[in-house]
């Protein structure tokens, strides 16, 4: 980009009319004010509230609690560690299985194997469905009298336990989440792949490299920016997971995860702001990936 020189020129030349100044202020000011008011101020508010005891009802009742909520969570709430464990498993699964599968799919589809247009759509359809619909579809598949039970030969009165079977329910939930996640990653990667110079791929093939070598040594390094984005999305989505678990278990801690703990502890009836503390913990865990994402996306600009 050769804009630096022009940039300098523009800067020197500029002097804004009052009308322009007003327009610019409005253009920037209104959306920003909006964003700050509805996103950042409440976010900071929640962070602050996590250090208080409060019923959530009368502001005059807010009492300072210091780190007590956090202490309670870390030392006195066994279900918290169950939840964290589930978030970790979610992350590991997504990171080692779902995301790589999405990447591999994208790669193969990009190579335009037979039927690639159909595959591209097929894998992506679950992504456009709302999580509420996804929950219903899978509840439908797995419930007593449903498809899976039927295939296992169990009728409606004698189903095998799925959501309540703690040996397998984790995998079932992760499977449903992957059903969505893989298509999403696939499409993101695919769009990134489209911008990779095809001559690169061809040259590698002529040099006698196998497809796998081409992928590892040529494609992957070139896709570094997209790789980072994909990794960040994988991490953040694992931490923020909520909708699917809520559709299955409601707000009970049948299968604890951070997102559910926040939701469960946010409704009133108590004095602690444990829900806020959970939300802050969730946020803190996301900060690392967020910063990575921002660094990757804005590296050039900051320079």
């Amino acid at each position: 980009m050769t804009s630096t020189a022009t940039n300098a020129t523009v800067r020197r030349r500029r002097s804004f009319s009052p009308k322009d100044r007003l327009t610019l202020t409005a253009f920037v000011g209104i959306p920003t004010a909006f964003h700050i008011l509805l996103v950042w101020i409440p976010a900071i508010g929640t962070i602050g509230l996590s250090f208080t005891f409060w019923t959530g009802i009368h502001i005059s009742d807010i009492k300072w609690a210091g780190l007590q909520n956090y202490n309670n969570i870390f030392t006195g709430t066994p279900v918290f560690w169950d939840a964290i464990w589930h978030n970790v498993i979610w992350l590991v699964w997504f990171g080692l299985i779902a995301t790589p599968l999405g990447i591999l799919l994208a790669y193969q589809i990009d190579r335009q194997i037979k039927g690639h247009r159909f595959y591209e759509s097929a894998f992506f359809v679950p992504v456009v469905l709302s999580l509420a619909v996804t929950g219903i579809i899978w509840n439908f598949m797995l419930q007593p009298g449903g498809f899976v039970q039927g295939m296992l030969g169990r009728d409606i009165g004698n189903p095998i336990s799925i959501y309540g079977n703690y040996d397998i329910n984790t995998y079932v939930i992760l499977g449903i989440a992957s059903w969505r996640h893989i298509g999403y990653i696939m499409l993101l990667y695919l769009s990134g792949l489209k911008s990779v110079d095809s001559s690169l791929k061809e040259a590698s093939a002529i040099d006698g490299a196998t497809e796998w070598q081409t992928f590892r040594k040529v494609i992957l390094p070139t896709m570094k920016p997209v790789n980072i984005i994909i990794i960040v999305i994988t991490v953040i989505d694992s931490l923020r997971a909520f909708d699917i678990v809520y559709m299955i278990y409601g707000s009970s801690t049948g299968w604890p995860i951070l997102g559910i703990l926040v939701f469960q502890n946010i409704s009133g009836g108590g004095m602690s702001m444990k829900g806020a503390a959970y939300a802050v913990i969730l946020f803190v865990l996301c900060i690392g990936p967020m910063i990575t994402y921002l660094k990757q996306s804005f590296a050039e600009d900051v320079k």
């Binding site: 980009m1 022009t6 940039n7 523009v10 500029r14 804004f16 009319s17 009308k19 327009t23 253009f27 209104i30 959306p31 964003h35 509805l38 950042w40 409440p42 976010a43 929640t46 193969q108 037979k114 039927g115 595959y119 759509s121 097929a122 894998f123 679950p126 456009v128 469905l129 709302s130 509420a132 619909v133 219903i136 579809i137 899978w138 439908f140 598949m141 009298g145 498809f147 039927g150 009728d155 059903w179 298509g183 993101l188 695919l190 769009s191 990134g192 911008s195 006698g208 984005i229 809520y246 559709m247 926040v262 829900g275 939300a279 946020f283 921002l294 996306s297 804005f298 050039e300 600009d301």
Partner: protein, 294 residues
């Protein structure tokens, strides 16, 4: 000569490998679509038929009765209307605001440009739960200030506004990335010609933004339509809820009539499915713009 022979051999073995890969993936693609197909299939079968003859039985009848009943009993038109009333303004406002910021940040060199973009993008990544408690109180307070407690809470306006606030980051990011690929000269000449900022924006930049705006519109519509959380926690009246938040409730109400529920789910999914089928190109390019920088 040897190279060509080697090439051909390599190509042939690669071709067979490819065919195997294709079949393998094809199998998975069908498996992928199966749950959806099963739901649609179930929605076409009357509940009594399934109960009497079992899930795998060959159907006696296939009809749209479930759809007729779903629309009637589940008040689907009401919920779909609410979804539309939330999604459409939210998308328009988000794109509007986003384009304003993207415009200023990419066409003019202010010191705060990068900071602003960072700010918005980070805001987009915040978890929704982090924001909820103070937002609820704020909505009530603002409502009280204007004399109508239900101004923002339990209102479509309130849900629209929070969607806009949250999605602004992504829209801004995408639009500013796109604008960076537009030569500065265009803006240059406009400014030399004495165009005001307003004219610069409306007559020059905005028309150029059509492609990413279209893509973003498709993406945002899908995301906002599919959202589950905000309407669930910010609305108390069932009659104002969008279809996605209503589905959770409908699942509880009709838990025993699976086939009816399936029909309801299909109807709820139709808008986004249709958008995806018809406007797929925009969808994909929207994601492309969002994931890679020009």
């Amino acid at each position: 000569m040897t190279t060509i022979v080697v090439d051909k051999k390599y190509k042939n073995s690669q071709k067979t490998k490819d065919r195997v890969i294709s079949i393998f993936i094809g199998f998975f693609a069908l498996a992928w679509l199966f749950p959806i197909a099963w739901t649609i299939w179930s929605s076409l079968r009357p509940y009594n038929d399934v109960i009497a003859n079992g899930v795998f039985s060959v159907p006696e009848t296939l009809n749209f009765d479930n759809y007729y009943n779903a629309v009637r009993l589940m008040k689907l038109p009401m919920y779909l209307t609410n979804s539309f009333l939330i999604t459409f303004p939210a998308v328009v406002l988000t794109l509007g605001f986003g384009s304003l910021i993207a415009f200023v940040v990419s066409r003019y060199s202010f010191k705060f440009n990068v900071a602003l973009l960072l700010f918005f993008t980070a805001g987009n990544l915040l978890p929704q739960q982090l924001v909820f408690i103070p937002l609820f109180k704020m909505y009530l307070a603002i409502g009280d200030f204007f004399g109508n407690r239900a101004l923002l809470y339990d209102s479509i306006v309130g849900v629209v506004l929070i969607h806009v606030a949250f999605q602004l980051g992504f829209a801004t990011f995408v639009l500013s990335s796109y604008l960076k690929t537009i030569p500065k000269e265009i803006s240059e000449s406009a400014m030399v010609d004495g165009a005001s900022v307003w004219v610069h924006y409306t007559k020059i930049i905005l028309p150029l933004l059509r492609p990413p705006l279209a893509s973003l519109a498709v993406l945002m519509t899908t995301w906002i339509y599919n959202d589950f959380f905000w309407a669930l926690v910010l609305m108390k009246s069932d009659s104002k809820r969008p279809i996605t938040s209503a589905l959770a409730r409908l699942q509880g109400e009709f838990v025993t009539d699976f086939n009816l529920l399936a029909a309801g789910a299909v109807v709820a999914a139709l808008p986004t499915l249709l958008i995806f089928i018809v406007l797929r190109k925009q969808f994909v390019s929207g994601l492309t713009l969002g994931s890679t920088k020009g």
